[in-house]
């Protein structure tokens, strides 16, 4: 097993999120009608973190939600064990609002495609933005992030492993060799 390389340690994560929060408010021109929606699972705590940072700087409380895109995946036709379905929870009506989708890693773009489809079933936001902690390249769809924590170039056989305090006990972004598929 080759050791993982640290891309962001916990302090770097904190600085990065702070800058992302500022950039989100800058791009949306304030917090009016703003909603942060994290994609299950690690996007959810990241969205809450960003929202808290925005609240601290701007005052008020930005609503935060969670999106589980499993039911919208484009690979459910393939035969195999079914992925676990998580919770989708949107705290407010998203019609006419500015929704920021938050995820840990942007890779193929297929998760974001599914998230856009799911959001459309809940309403018609005035605008949707994408914020990701890591953009690792390799998009297979015409999808780009609006707010990026860090852009890195990663080989296909490598895994960007994002850890968040709430789920993993620490904040870190690691580059690891992809786990071999279970036989």
């Amino acid at each position: 097993m080759t050791a993982s390389t640290v891309i962001l340690d916990s302090r770097a994560c904190e600085r990065t999120l702070r800058r992302m929060a500022d950039e989100i408010v800058e791009r949306t021109g304030g917090t009016d009608g703003l909603v942060l929606v994290g994609i299950q699972r690690r996007g959810v705590p990241l969205a809450a973190r960003l929202a808290a940072l925005i609240d601290a700087r701007e005052g008020g409380r930005v609503p935060r939600g969670a999106l589980d895109i499993t039911l919208y995946r484009d690979d459910l036709q393939t035969i195999g064990p079914r992925p676990v379905v998580g919770t989708t929870e949107l705290p407010v009506d998203i019609d006419g609002r500015v929704v920021v989708i938050v995820d840990d890693v942007l890779y193929t773009g297929r998760t974001v495609r599914a998230a856009l489809d799911e959001l459309a079933d809940f309403g018609r936001p005035a605008r949707i933005l994408l914020a990701v902690l890591i953009d690792r390249g390799g998009q297979e769809l015409p999808i780009r992030a609006d707010v990026v924590g860090k852009t890195i170039s990663v080989l296909e056989d490598q895994l960007v492993d994002v850890k968040v305090e709430e789920l993993d006990g620490q904040d870190a972004v690691l580059l690891a060799p992809r786990r071999p598929r279970a036989a």
């Binding site: 039911l71 919208y72 036709q77 064990p81 989708t88 193929t108 809940f122 598929r181 279970a182």
Partner: protein
């Protein structure tokens, strides 16, 4: 951890506690889909499901149909009226015809116990048992489990008494297997003529003779529908007497030592096995059962889609993040 049920859902007896819990866990987020303004997700887009009902059924068929449509499957209802052909032959022919129409899943309700397995063994499509004779009605069992788990958080250590015509009831069998696997204690209560012989040994349940004792013992009563033809067949003397001895009435419930949940698979014979005061009362979770029926059926459809027999064992290979 990804979950697989294999190709078919034929009973709860052959499922593991982990598989049952996995179905219930999947039903929870799927239940939320029915609360949305747009009650539809694209999950089963392109899948064709045939609802093959050899017995009349309104609520189970409608519940499955809602579940299929909310997952964007194409649903076709086939109601097969009583035919002169013997049941075995009809099923084989029907199976071949369905296969020739390139379907993906079959929901079958049939009067003969074992009919669902018979069909499942002969076609490649996923088969879901919607009630076969007096054998099992697994999705009814699952919706009862979900309803109780919602109220209690866990089934472990809870006491559920199934009341009424257990002998002829596929609902009772699915309930007994499901409840016991999830750690609940199960009792049955009814006239001895309507309880299976040797139920203690065969099903691992307690037999309670008097409804008053059942109310004292249980945390929930699952009150079965008394099929009216049982009276004509001589299993019980009269409906009135049945209500007097075994009917769940408000007066009897008032003596329950703890809060008691009331379930009924429907359709109810008000004034026979259950009084209206009880059915519409504060302890009743009967309408929750109906809501949860759609959710567990959505979960089963989602989990079975594309499933193959060799995947029945808990899944190892990760369905990795895209």
């Amino acid at each position: 951890m990804p979950l697989s049920l294999g190709k078919d859902l034929l009973d709860l007896e052959s499922l593991t506690a982990e598989q049952i819990t996995g179905i219930l866990d999947t039903a929870v987020p799927l239940k939320a889909v029915s609360e949305r303004a747009i009650k539809k997700v694209p999950t089963l887009r392109g899948a064709t499901v045939v609802n093959l009902f050899f017995e009349p059924s309104t609520r189970t068929r409608i519940s499955f149909e809602f579940a299929e449509k909310r997952l964007s499957a194409d649903a076709v209802n086939v109601a097969v009226q009583g035919s002169s052909v013997s049941k075995g032959e009809t099923l084989v022919d029907t199976a071949r015809n369905l296969e020739a129409m390139r379907i993906d899943m079959v929901v079958i309700r049939h009067g003969a116990s074992g009919a669902a397995r018979f069909l499942a063994d002969r076609i490649d499509s996923n088969v879901i048992n919607a009630g076969d004779g007096t054998h099992e009605h697994p999705t009814q069992g699952l919706l009862d489990l979900l309803t109780l788990r919602e109220r209690w958080g866990t089934l472990a250590g809870k006491r559920v008494c199934i009341c009424g015509d257990v002998l002829h009831s596929r609902v009772a069998r699915s309930n007994i297997h499901g409840l016991r696997k999830l750690g609940a204690e199960v009792a049955i209560c009814g006239p001895r003529s309507l309880l299976p012989h040797g139920a203690e040994e065969v099903f691992g349940v307690t037999v309670i003779d008097r409804i008053e004792q059942a109310i004292e013992w249980a945390d929930a009563l699952n009150i079965l529908r008394l099929q009216l033809e049982r009276m004509e067949a001589g299993y019980i003397p009269s409906l009135r007497e049945y209500n007097r001895v075994f009917g769940v009435t408000r007066e009897r419930l008032a003596r329950a030592p703890r809060e008691l949940l009331i379930l009924h698979p429907g359709p109810m014979n008000r004034g026979v096995e259950i009084d209206s005061d009880v059915a519409d009362g504060p302890h009743s979770v009967i309408l929750d059962q109906v809501t949860n029926g759609v959710a567990v059926r959505m979960a089963v459809l989602y989990l079975l889609r594309g499933g193959r027999p060799d995947q029945a064992a808990a899944a190892g290979a990760a369905a990795g993040d895209p």
